[in-house]
Symmetry: C2
Subunit: 417 residues, 2 copies
């Protein structure tokens, strides 16, 4: 939780940090400011002190919404610095950062740098700044273990409520897609038809998903997956827009919308087969569902998340599939890890990869996905079931949005002969 930031900084011997960039779509900045339409801003926080927010004067109203201590960039005469630096914009920028650090009383010690932003400009400015402020050691952190992902790993009540709300939006959109698809007319060759008699394509469905997410005031900053057949067998294929929608093929629908302006995500997947399923597909789906249920029955408070990934690998290997447990980077079978934390980042701590650190546990306040899957692109099929789960303070794992797991979706205007 955000209130843990100081103790995490202390444990890492970090005296201060700076976050660069916009307030939108920049998780560390959003975490500290609550978002808003603020660009090219910076926050400096000393350990044990409140963050100070440096902003462009034109965006003063948006910055004020953060409730943080504010300093406008106009306090620093950039044009004068540009003259002093003989037109070297990176050096002028570094000179301004120096004044900003001095103004908040940071002139030495270890300073972490953060933000989802322009890597080139920041790297360039930091090289100069390091020379201007030799008593500071500027440091970066691996994403998985950064102070922000550490703090974000557990959620407070307000964060849980916001993620839950995104869950409700997610299942409302998923249901609308399901109702739409199952209401379509079907051509003799089992291709779905739109109202106007034209074949329904994956691209048509993509457009509807975008529209229906938007109707709920949510956004898709990391995209989404609605893929059929072979593409469903490639876990991160978004789906080929020109593919036609057909009966009896597996559809992987992975929807992960976020609050507008770079806020909290939800993450959810269902696998469908319209009208009927081939026996092979049904058997594979049943396996995914079986391990999905087994996991739900076995999740336990404070157990390492990766232990459940290992359990999933062992189950799938017992059924004859390749998994990362005994195959290096498989492209068939179970090819990813079991899940990940969800919050302001679509993928955050705790992670569940087999080499994830042991301290990434199902502790109270954590919100994770559980998403076992099987992938056989050469067979033209893929399967994944995913829900987002909150580890409640009382130790119960609560699914944040309920939705049925049906694989075969009956078509309202079509019957199998």
């Amino acid at each position: 939780m955000k209130s843990d930031l100081d103790s995490i900084m202390q444990a890492r011997n970090m005296d201060a940090f700076v976050v660069f960039g916009n307030a939108e779509n920049n998780p560390p900045m959003y975490y500290l400011t609550g978002g808003g339409h603020v660009s090219h801003a910076a926050i400096i926080k000393k350990q044990g002190e409140a963050p100070v927010y440096f902003f462009n004067d034109m965006e003063r109203d948006e910055a004020a919404k953060s409730g943080l201590t504010l300093i406008p960039y106009t306090k620093y005469d950039y044009n004068d610095l540009l003259k002093k630096s003989e037109g070297n914009a990176l050096l002028a920028s570094a000179m301004r950062y120096q004044k900003m650090f001095e103004d908040v009383g940071v002139t030495g010690g270890r300073v972490g740098v953060y933000g989802h932003y322009d890597v080139s400009a920041i790297f360039g400015a930091l090289r100069y700044l390091q020379k201007l402020m030799p008593d500071i050691e500027f440091t970066g952190e691996a994403r998985e273990d950064s102070i922000f992902l550490r703090a974000m790993e557990t959620k407070d009540e307000n964060e849980v409520a916001r993620i839950r709300r995104m869950g409700q939006i997610t299942i409302a959109v998923v249901h609308k897609v399901r109702e739409y698809l199952t209401s379509c007319e079907v051509r003799n060759d089992e291709v779905l038809l739109k109202e106007d008699g034209v074949p329904l394509s994956v691209g048509d469905v993509h457009s509807k998903i975008r529209l229906w997410v938007s109707e709920h005031g949510a956004e898709l900053p990391s995209g989404f997956i609605f893929a059929i057949g072979r593409d469903a067998g490639v876990p991160h294929s978004a789906g080929n827009p020109t593919d036609l929608m057909r009966l009896g093929q597996t559809i992987v629908f992975d929807l992960y919308p976020a609050e507008a302006g770079g806020g909290y995500y939800y993450d959810f997947t269902r696998t469908w087969s319209l009208g009927y399923a081939t026996p092979e597909a049904q058997a594979l789906f049943d396996q995914v569902k079986e391990i999905y249920d087994t996991l739900n029955n076995n999740f336990d408070l404070n157990v390492a998340f990766k232990d459940y990934n290992k359990m999933t690998c062992e189950y799938f290997e017992s059924k004859g599939h390749q998994t990362p447990l005994n195959t290096k980077a498989p492209i068939e079978g179970y090819v990813h890890s079991l899940g990940h934390g969800v919050g302001l980042n679509i993928h955050e701590r705790p992670f569940s990869g087999l080499t994830a650190s042991d301290d990434q546990r199902l502790k109270p306040g954590v919100i994770i996905t559980s998403e076992p899957g099987l992938y056989y692109p050469e067979k033209g099929m893929g399967f994944r079931i995913e829900d987002t789960l909150w580890v409640r303070p009382d130790g119960v794992m609560e699914k944040l949005a309920d939705y049925p797991y049906d694989f075969v979706l009956p078509m309202k205007k079509w019957k199998k002969k």
Copy 2:
């Protein structure tokens, strides 16, 4: 244009560059790959050679769409590197980058680093990589003058067509908003009413704008502005959702949608006053329109963009307003610069600030905004007119989407007494 990248690299004595991050919402990566749903990727390009795209195997189909030379990350055994680095993820990541650079034949020289990405992880890894590869000098560039913003400064025909298409979407949405607002019933106190008789708020209009942009398959990755009254007088205020829509107040509507997935932007603003305008507002609007027209009549091929900003300042000062020409960071009057380039970045070269470099000119292939404005937050009013203009190869400045400049919008169900 993209084909200029090699000559720009040569002129800067840059032997290679690396771009980090996702293919979406990361302009340099999008520029090289054409977008797609690829995360945590990297591209290394040697001067004079084709770019090489390093990608996650799960995203191989999306990466293949780029048409670039592909190397999957699975070629490098990250777990082995993690063991060698004793669990130091930043060092392991740097060791992998070292192998990647060696594989494309980059072992020395000046290497630029780019990407809109996790500043902390890249800064941390580059510090190790610099030690591992001491013959390379890793460099960052100021954003305004980076090789990418240089190359992107002129657009090819395909880019112009895509921006023009976004222009058509923009004016379609703007027109829909206009039709909606002018069709509303009006209460006795001049507040607009929704169909159900409830007052119409700025937040209601925001929701409709988001929905209508989405209906056209476009996105709002940098937000948008629809603000009324005092908020219209703060150039970058997005608008206060709880404000009610009223007659006779200035509305600044700045819409800058982009192609879905992080593609090309359009940028457009109109200022409206519903039903009627106060004489003071009308007079200020007329000034903005007058200088807007004067600029259009004076834009000339290969002239420095900032010269027109200066012309705008001089015009507004002649009318008694503060401008950056003689006032430091004014918050009333003309408070920003005249415009900016538009492309994969909502703000890119050429820039028009009074201190912009002299080489930022209206050369053929450039796409700019022209957006003079006046802001009086204390008077509760603001004004801006903005179109996106293409400097054609034949020297003509072409507006990429036509839309009327009406300030006072007559209400269909209301008449002034």
